[in-house]
């Protein structure tokens, strides 16, 4: 079986293509090597009016939809600067992978991704370009942003506690006899077992493991 998602699941490819092209007539699917690229103009539409446009290239990697699509602004308009949330290689950090469950949960389509995180990102860029702040706020860069995110989610400022939660989320299985990550000395099943279970349902193990590695 092919390791390329669009060959392994041509029906999914076709479905996403038809859906995206019907809603965004200026975005086109192209297969280049192992990648599926969605290239063209991404419009910010509100109440039927196009408020702004960005030239974009969105790459769907071989393991799509497991991995997040990689978004680039290719018109040379947005600086590749940390303040604008563009990495050194020109890719945009449209959202924190750990937050994916909220904005683009498993089973959501590429169209949902475009209408959600991608639209939010470029809407923010247009406002920032005009001197406004980021309309929905912004996470700090790198590990600090991950700490902020989990800090808000778990209502703690303690990095040690966040790491303990992430250990539970990234583990193959979270066992009830483990000490609770909140650090009060109780067992997981007697304390925050339900919280850990809820996190495990939302956040991919791989994302939690990567975040744990980053903030340690």
């Amino acid at each position: 079986m092919s390791h390329l998602w669009h060959r392994r699941d041509p029906a999914l490819f076709e479905k996403q293509k038809v859906e995206v092209e019907a809603n965004f007539p200026e975005l086109h699917f192209r297969v280049v090597g192992d990648l599926v690229l969605v290239v063209g103009t991404f419009p910010i539409i509100f109440m039927g009016t196009v408020l702004d446009r960005y030239s974009v290239e969105i790459a769907l990697a071989t393991d799509y939809p497991k991995s997040l699509p990689s978004v680039r602004e290719i018109g040379g308009r947005i600086p590749w600067a940390a303040e604008r949330h563009i990495n050194c290689d020109g890719t945009a950090c449209v959202l924190l992978p750990d937050e994916r469950w909220k904005a683009w949960p498993v089973g959501a389509t590429l169209l949902d991704f475009l209408n959600g995180p991608v639209r939010n990102f470029f809407l923010g860029q247009s406002l920032v370009e005009r001197g406004d702040p980021w309309p929905f706020g912004q996470w700090s860069h790198g590990a600090a942003g991950i700490r902020e995110y989990y800090g808000e989610l778990l209502n703690t400022r303690d990095t040690q506690v966040i790491c303990q939660y992430l250990e539970c989320v990234s583990a193959k299985k979270a066992k009830g006899h483990w000490p609770c990550p909140c650090g009060n000395g109780k067992r997981l099943r007697e304390c925050h077992g339900a919280t850990v279970q809820a996190l495990r349902e939302k956040i991919a193990r791989k994302d939690a493991a990567t975040s744990l590695q980053r903030i340690r």
């Binding site: 007539p25 030239s55 600086p79 590749w80 449209v94 959202l95 005009r130």
Partner: protein, 301 residues
Amino acid sequence: MTTNSYLSKVLASQTLGDESNELKALQERRAEVEKFLRQHFEGSSPTIRYGGSKAKGTMIRESYDLDIACYFPRDDTAAGETLEEIYANVRNVLEKKYLVEPKASALRLKDLNTQTRGVDFHIDVVPGRFTDDEKSDAFLYISTGEKKRLKTNLDVHIKHVKDSGVIDAIRLMKLWKVRNGLPIRNFVLELAVIKLLKSKKDAARSTQLEHIWTEFRDNIENLYVEDPANPSGNDLSHLLNSTMKGTLAAGAGRTLALIGTSGWEAVFGPVDEKKETEKTEALRRAAAAVVTPTRPWLREA
């Protein structure tokens, strides 16, 4: 509004006036690049000429560029023994001041400053060497493909496009290309438009565009373009190969279908007459209406 008055409005919205910020910035940057190149290749006395969409009259707001041809005398070797060396040396020099994105024969200049890194300056520097002392034809280095040398003539290219009589159609087709992210080179698209409209110069713009898209959709395998600067010598077939033709045919097919179902406004969008302040307000309202907000992050600290 008739289709042709709509297309006129589209063209007007894409026109950059001489006093526009974009053109002023381009002119300032042009002077800066020219001075920089002259300083670094003082001993070689390069000839600096300007081309690109500004010179051809095909500029559009959403995709404009200025080509700065930096041609060295036929017998000069200080800038490099070979064309490849000239290309590499000019690139090395430019990289001291700019973020350089190498293209097949040109070097695209972008901002290198930390805060504005990657912002496009819309300038391509094209290094080359004159073929003789007349200083009209030049050889360029081609970094991609098998053939590594191309004979060209900037003035012939500019004249070919400027005198084509189909500038408006070229500008609209460039806008179509940009909006749809089509990878065809502007130069090749210009040649294709000029060729396809040879007998339709006086037709209405909508008729011209529909003709081009119909030809792209139904007959593109028979479309070949020639470089007016060297018709027999420069083979452009790799720039309009079967993959490119397939991409253009698919794009043209979708556009024609879109006109059929939703009309011309679906192709180029509504003509924007909103003022900047109104736009900002509308963007704020759009942000306030977002149901699932997400915050941007950055992988690198």
